[in-house]
């Protein structure tokens, strides 16, 4: 294969990495910073995709669908936090695993009740519908570039919020020491409810953006769930930089794994994670607890 | 030349930008009670954590009976004969008082990977457990659940667990913290008894207690050793007077 082939594959890898980061960004907020294991993250991704499909169908505009869908996702997140997650902050991770595992079942059924079992597609909005020629017979959809751009924007935005703003400071402080923050007069309950909703909204946003390139189908969330955990763990919890690097690494390993070692492709990402955790038990950028 | 059981050489540890121990070089004499005093944040607990292996020093050396133990994990250090108690009560809350000591005593077996003999049959462990219970004065509370015991008793149990490992050197991090005067007296009495055949390194804020049992003192301030030596020497030290003791006595 010639060089251009590998360059295109590199582009694919980076693009896949961006997509992974988009999905994992909400998870890193919940899992990495708040310390909550949320197995239902994939379900929220699915909720986003279905919202995009449903609202685009209803309003006729993908952009309007995102605009309307995000508040709905925030609301879903808020309700889940208030009525379930908020009881578990002080408990062992085990209970979070189990509760969010049960949430997957609940969301899967709700999705079927609300939207049935068909496979749906969302049409790419007109202005992003074109593509750019890459090689003599392959071209690259503009919409994928748009996803990458959105992903960079979210990465920068999150980094800025967490590292530079008062809200970010409260989140980081609240995660490491609840009592302390409470003593400073911050309402931790409201803070955590807000952050959780934000995490859910990010997952849903990822689902919405992915809907036009992916298809919208029952159980779609579970395809991204485990891999986004791998991304966050490789990067090291609590580090947005780590999540970003983790996403890129997985993008590279998985893409080139498919090309160079096709029969090992699925195993490779997990092997990578095991090796990284053996080398650094808290991930690439994680700190010891 | 003193007979030192433990020696530290230029021990350094910092957390981020904060220097917790700064070039600490100390010698602890065999058979003596050596107290480390100093204001909060002076680096006393960090020093104990370094000695017990709970923390690894950035650089410097720790020698126990002439052996370099600087980078050993806590379990190895414990096995060599250094026991420690914690400032915050650190016991197995759901275990009975007896079981707490017994787990500690069992750690001295060559192997505890025994699966099929009921634990209570191991005689040596049993004896060690009893001795520890008796020493720390909790024989009568042996079947109580640890979490149901009074704070003072839990502190005693903390010491009892350490004793059950039959250490040669005891590291005690504020054994009297939070105790009533009655309980304090009991523990001081216990420490005095232990001093007969152990070396004790003790962090304590209660100056009366310190002066009543310690033979040697080290004063730490801001991670540094300000002064070290006999009680008389510390009492007469100008630097200590200024930096620490005067203030402490005013406060009492």
């Amino acid at each position: 294969m010639e060089l251009s082939f590998y360059l295109v594959q590199l582009l694919n890898a980076v693009q896949y990495g961006f997509l992974l980061f988009l999905v994992a960004s909400g998870l890193t907020l919940l899992f990495g910073i708040m310390g909550i294991i949320n197995l239902a993250h994939g379900s929220f991704y699915m909720v986003g995709a279905y919202l995009a499909y449903w609202l685009t169908d209803l309003t006729g505009s993908f952009w309007l669908a995102i605009l309307l869908g995000l508040p709905i996702a925030l609301m879903v997140g808020y309700l889940v936090e208030r009525f379930a997650i908020s009881f578990l902050y002080q408990r062992d991770h085990l209970y979070q695993v189990l509760l969010t595992f049960a949430l997957i079942l609940v969301f899967n059924e709700l999705q079927q009740i609300l939207w049935g079992t068909d496979v749906h597609g969302v049409v790419i909005p007109e202005i992003l519908a074109g593509s750019i020629p890459l090689t003599d017979n392959q071209s690259y959809p503009i919409y994928r570039l748009f996803i990458s751009a959105a992903c960079i924007a979210i990465a920068c935005g999150m980094y800025w919020v967490i590292q530079k703003t008062r809200l970010g400071m409260m989140i980081r402080a609240g995660a490491s020491n609840r009592e302390m923050v409470q003593a400073l007069g911050i309402d931790v309950n409201r803070l955590f409810a807000f952050v959780f909703s934000l995490g859910v909204a990010l997952a849903a946003f990822a689902g919405m953006l992915a809907a036009p390139v992916d298809s919208v189908y029952p159980g779609m969330g579970e395809n991204v769930l485990i891999i986004s955990f791998v991304v966050v763990v490789i990067g090291g919890t609590g580090s947005i930089k780590g999540t970003f690097v983790g996403a890129m690494l997985i993008g590279l390993v998985s893409t080139f794994g498919k090309v160079l070692l096709p029969e090992m492709a699925s195993i490779m990402v997990y092997a990578l994670m095991a090796v990284i955790l053996l080398w650094r038990p808290h991930g690439l950028f994680g700190r010891a607890a | 030349m003193i007979d030192s059981v433990l020696r530290t050489v230029r021990l350094n540890k910092s957390f981020g930008g904060l220097i917790a121990t700064n070039n600490v070089t100390l010698e602890f004499e065999r058979g003596q009670v050596h107290a480390i005093i100093g204001p909060n944040g002076a680096g006393k607990t960090t020093l104990i954590n370094l000695l017990s292996g709970d923390l690894l020093p950035d650089d410097g050396e720790i020698l126990f009976n002439g052996r370099n133990i600087t980078n050993l994990p806590p379990n190895k250090i414990s096995q060599l004969g250094i026991g420690r108690s914690y400032q915050k009560t650190n016991i197995f809350a759901e275990f009975s008082c007896y079981e707490n000591c017994w787990v500690a005593a069992q750690s001295r077996l060559n192997t505890s990977m025994r699966f099929f003999r009921p634990a209570r049959q191991l005689k040596a462990v049993l004896e060690r457990t009893e001795r520890a219970l008796e020493l720390c004065g909790l024989s009568s509370r042996r079947d109580s659940r640890a979490s149901a015991m009074s704070y003072g008793e839990q502190r005693q149990l903390e010491i009892g667990m350490m004793l059950a490992t039959e250490p040669e050197l005891l590291l005690l991090d504020e054994p009297l913290a939070g105790m009533g005067s009655e309980e304090s007296l009991q523990v001081i009495e216990l420490l005095r008894r232990l001093a007969a055949d152990h070396t004790l390194i003790l962090i304590e804020h209660d100056m009366d207690a310190v002066f009543s049992i310690a033979q040697r003192l080290t004063v730490m301030v801001n991670g540094r050793v300000l002064e070290t030596g006999s009680i008389e020497r510390i009492r007469s030290s100008q630097a200590v007077q200024e930096a620490y003791l005067g203030v402490a006595e005013d406060a009492v």
Partner: protein, 331 residues
Amino acid sequence: MSALIRSMPLLAALLALVLFPQFGSEYYVGLLTRIIIIALFALSLDLLIGYTGLVSFGHAAFYGIGGYALAIAFQDASVIPLWQALPLSLAAAAFAALVIGWISIRTSGIYFIMITLAMAQMFFYFFFESPRYGGDDGIFLFLKPVLMVGSEDILKLDQENNFYYFALSCLVSSYLLLVMILRAPFGKVIKAIKANEHRVRALGYSTSGYKLVSFVIAGTLAGLAGFLEGAHSGYVNPSYMSWHESGVCIAMVILGGMGTLYGPIVGAFIIVLLQNFLPELTEHWQLLLGGIVIAVVLFLPRGATSLYPRICDLIRRSRRGEREPQETADD
């Protein structure tokens, strides 16, 4: 004496299980056999999460390996000798647990959860994508293991009732084995590790060794369960080791009550029976199942079996018409 009284419900339950095939139809004996196998699987996980404090999210790997070892070795055999097949399955599961455990116990907390998950996923995909071991089609076994004495198969596992008793005896012996282990010094140490690992290290224990041994024991018992399931259903496939399976196993342990040996067994009964009968109530039965699990997590974190002492207590109090002293020094 009080120990005897306390174990009365257990003995009664065992008696009921022993007598069941005399009354139950073949279908229900088969169903109960499956529950017993799953209960053994959950029981093995409880050693990790309930006693050692290791939240493994990849326990299904060993369950699957136990089944696959049997299926791979004997898929074309004309006879499956139990004395070869069973040790092989156990050894395979134990070896896998040793390797996975050795890697995983260096981490802790959420990292441990995720790395065990990752390791199980590797096994899942290995079997899923390997053409040699049937891929996602899995492997069929057309024979049951036999235990020959002379020319006579003394187990006759092809009869449902016999398999039932075989599985039940495996469960009971595993249960007794764990009782013994937990009473032994080793058991005390792992319980202490769960309570406060740091303190255990300070007392001079090399805790990773204990955790590893516990991991291997749990993995081996899960392998036994996998062996039984493979032999019982005559079929193994990669979904045995999917992360769903691990998740359901955790659900059983907690639903029943972790940190007790009977809890996971009760949990297995609850989950399998719910999975079996809820679909007859409604098409959207998973909504109900999810709701039940959520309710237990929120309101009954110590599991269904934690209700029993509470109920006993209530009955006793109402009978005596007096209040019990608050502080009781039970274990």
